[in-house]
């Protein structure tokens, strides 16, 4: 076992999948010669050549749509969108082509491909280098959406995505790239898509989070533990299809839930989780399901006081948990 960062885990996954399967190729801006603006694809062009590590022009529509085409003829594209903020031009190809290819062809044509999307705040990126837009893809039948929070999951989910038969939007959080390290196996492994991870068992309350927010929640859990509040922390990992069972089982046990989401509150993923908990395990609830989310303003104002104010953090989660516990 070796300690690797989240971004190293991604690089390893790409490297190993390209070694394993020659159908796998990469396309994105600055991913070749430069090795990616965050260096996620460092060294891959040297190893696999410019035909399999393609420095694309500034054409997000093509990056997504061209990958769909390559998938149709038997390739396994892994495309990169440099910042989630710049995925908006790709929406047409992601929603109308990638997500619906299988459906509209009655299963004849399929789209086994992955789009890596670098996302998230707390890096001083301001309004146009901090966005996450997971909720759009979360609401689209036909897409798989994942967002790892650890190096292990980053590697295992990326491999699972590349090997799967479905189109995957893989959100990677830029704040996590180098801020966490973890020992991960040197042997090949995958993390199953569709399964949440219980990061900490507990009995008083369930906290559900994903991505960077898992780490904020972990901090909060430690603080709350000192007060004698035992939290169960669930990392969703896969957003679509999300692991309803794991969440429901936990809430049945704890009867309380706080949901944490980095993105703006209204219409986010946690609205669905909350609504589903209410629909499916209402009887078990001792208190309303509560959400801790980014502000309902454009994600993410630049000046440090506003950035901090926007984002959920351990203190906010602690306050929310306390309020729900006191209910």
């Amino acid at each position: 076992m070796k300690k690797v960062t989240y971004i190293e885990a991604i690089t390893q996954a790409l490297y190993e999948e390209m070694e394993r399967d020659e159908r796998v190729f990469l396309i994105g801006q600055d991913i070749g010669l430069y090795g990616g603006v965050f260096k996620a694809t460092k060294g891959l062009m040297d190893r696999f050549g410019a035909e399999r590590v393609i420095d694309s022009p500034i054409s997000e529509v093509y990056i997504a749509g061209g990958s769909v085409g390559a998938a149709l003829v038997g390739m396994r594209p892994v495309a990169e969108i440099q910042f989630a903020d710049f995925i908006t031009p790709s929406m047409d190809q992601i929603i109308q082509q990638m997500a619906k290819m299988r459906y509209r062809s009655g299963g004849a044509w399929t789209c086994p491909m992955t789009i890596r999307v670098c996302c998230g705040g707390e890096v001083g990126g301001g309004l146009y280098h901090s966005q996450i837009n997971e909720q759009w893809f979360f609401s689209q039948p036909g897409l798989v959406v994942v967002m790892p929070s650890t190096p292990y999951d980053a590697k295992g989910l990326l491999k699972a995505a590349v090997r799967g038969e479905d189109p995957v939007i893989y959100f990677e959080h830029k704040r996590l790239y180098r801020s966490i390290k973890e020992e991960i196996p040197e042997d090949d492994f995958v993390v199953p898509v569709g399964k949440a991870a219980v990061r900490k068992e507990g009995k008083d309350i369930t906290i559900v989070a994903y991505g960077l927010m898992c780490h904020k929640a972990l901090e909060a859990v430690a603080m709350l533990e000192k007060d004698g509040i035992s939290c169960e922390l669930i990392d969703m990992r896969t957003l679509r299809p999300w692991d309803r069972e794991t969440v429901f089982e936990s809430v049945k046990k704890t009867s309380r839930a706080v949901l944490v989401q980095e993105n703006s509150k209204t219409g986010g993923v946690m609205a669905e989780v909350s609504a589903s908990i209410t629909e499916d395990v209402f009887d078990y609830l001792d208190a309303p399901v509560s959400r801790v989310c980014g502000l309902d303003v454009p994600m993410l104002p630049f000046a440090p006081p506003m950035e901090h104010f926007f984002l959920p953090n351990a203190e906010k989660i602690v306050r929310a948990v306390r309020k729900v516990m006191e209910y």
Binding site: F25, E51, R52, S56, P57, S59, V61, Y62, G65, G66, S67, V68, G69, A70, A71, L72, V73, G74, M75, P77, P89, D92, Q93, Q96, Q97, K100, M101, R102, Y103, R104, S105, G106, G107, A108, W109, T110, P141, G142, V144, G164, E165, D166, V193, G194, P241
Partner: protein, 344 residues
């Protein structure tokens, strides 16, 4: 663009530059497309199927000519007016009709939309309606072929209106940089629904768009099957040889409304009448008669055969059922992932 001047001198096979077989096949496919298209229009007007119907009558040479001679593994990236490409690529007639009828036997199991023909065994991508969408995806197929070092090609079809889309630009730009094995066929029928080509671009010849991408663009008479076939065949050969893409603009005209519910009252009758005189099927017929490949008897026999084939396909579809409602849950994902079922 060189328009064929009417002449009384009969052409020779050598002048035409195509073999008898090729000419016969091209004509057969043109005629088959025309007869099928007119039949489906009629069926729609009789209320035999739901949705709407996009006729390509008048434009057949723009799809039949380029498609003829492709291999099964070559890809067709269609839009909504490519019935001729499907016929010529060899998609069974029954499946073409089934797509229109949206019945259980349709390749898409009734999920998509009439006229959105797709068929994987013959390399025809099932299209979305979003214009130029498959031009982008098709360019990606060509990228795939290039990485695989295969000598397959892609034929992407779209109307002149679709060239206004940004994604179209991104695709052709990419193909130009990487010299992808793809041929772009612009069917310039002068109208995009009710919008004239003069409101789609500040240029007259849409082939000029290729100048922005560094590959050849050529404007041809889209109603001349010899030209559409020969120009495309040459471009396809170059694409197969790794010499990159070509944009071919075929000047043509659609005879009927944008779809069967459009009266097309935004056009002048005169414009239509002029174009009807350039009917690509009649022109091909005349050529084959002149070359003595065809005669009246042969023609009648052919029409009868084709009519029977078409009728058989229609009858199968008329008798076919719709899928069960629960079919809606299939083909969202691979078997790996379940779909949330509705409670009520």
């Amino acid at each position: 663009m060189t328009e064929q001047k009417p002449t009384n001198k009969k052409p020779s096979l050598k002048q035409v530059g195509l073999s008898e077989t090729v000419l016969w096949d091209l004509y057969t496919n043109l005629l088959k497309t025309r007869l099928l298209d007119e039949r489906l229009r009629k069926l729609f007007r009789q209320g035999r199927f739901a949705g709407t119907y996009f006729s390509a009558v008048g434009q057949e040479a723009t799809t039949v000519g380029p498609t003829y001679g492709l291999r099964d593994e070559d890809i067709i990236a269609p839009s909504h007016r490519e019935i001729g490409a499907n016929v010529t690529k060899g998609v069974p007639l029954e499946l073409i009709v089934a797509q229109v009828y949206a019945r259980r036997n349709s390749p898409d199991k009734g999920k998509s939309h009439p006229c959105h023909y797709g068929y994987r065994p013959k390399g025809v991508i099932s299209p979305a309606s979003t214009l130029a969408g498959q031009t982008i995806v098709g360019t990606g197929c060509a990228m795939g072929f290039k990485i695989q070092k295969k000598d397959n090609v892609v034929l992407a079809f779209f109307g002149e209106g679709s060239t206004s889309r940004g994604g179209w630009h991104e695709a052709l730009n990419y193909a130009g940089i990487h010299k992808l094995p793809i041929v772009y066929i612009c069917q310039n029928n002068l109208w995009a629904e009710s919008v004239p080509a003069t409101l789609q671009a500040g240029i007259k010849d849409f082939a000029d768009r290729a100048k922005a991408y560094g590959f050849p663009g050529v404007t041809i008479d889209g109603n001349d099957i010899v030209q559409t076939h020969k120009t495309a065949a040459e471009a396809i050969a170059r694409a197969r040889a790794g010499e990159g893409p070509t944009l071919i603009e075929c000047k043509t005209y659609r005879w009927y409304g944008h779809s069967e519910i459009d009266p097309a009252d935004y056009r002048q009758t005169e414009e239509l009448e002029n174009w009807k005189k350039k009917d690509p099927v009649i022109r091909a017929e005349k050529l084959l008669l002149d070359l003595e490949i065809l005669n009246t008897a042969k023609r009648e026999a052919l029409v009868e055969n084709l009519d029977q084939e078409i009728e058989a396909a229609v009858q199968v579809c008329e008798k076919e059922k719709y899928v069960e409602p629960e079919e809606a849950y299939n083909d969202v994902y691979s078997e790996r992932f379940p779909v949330l079922k509705d409670e009520y």
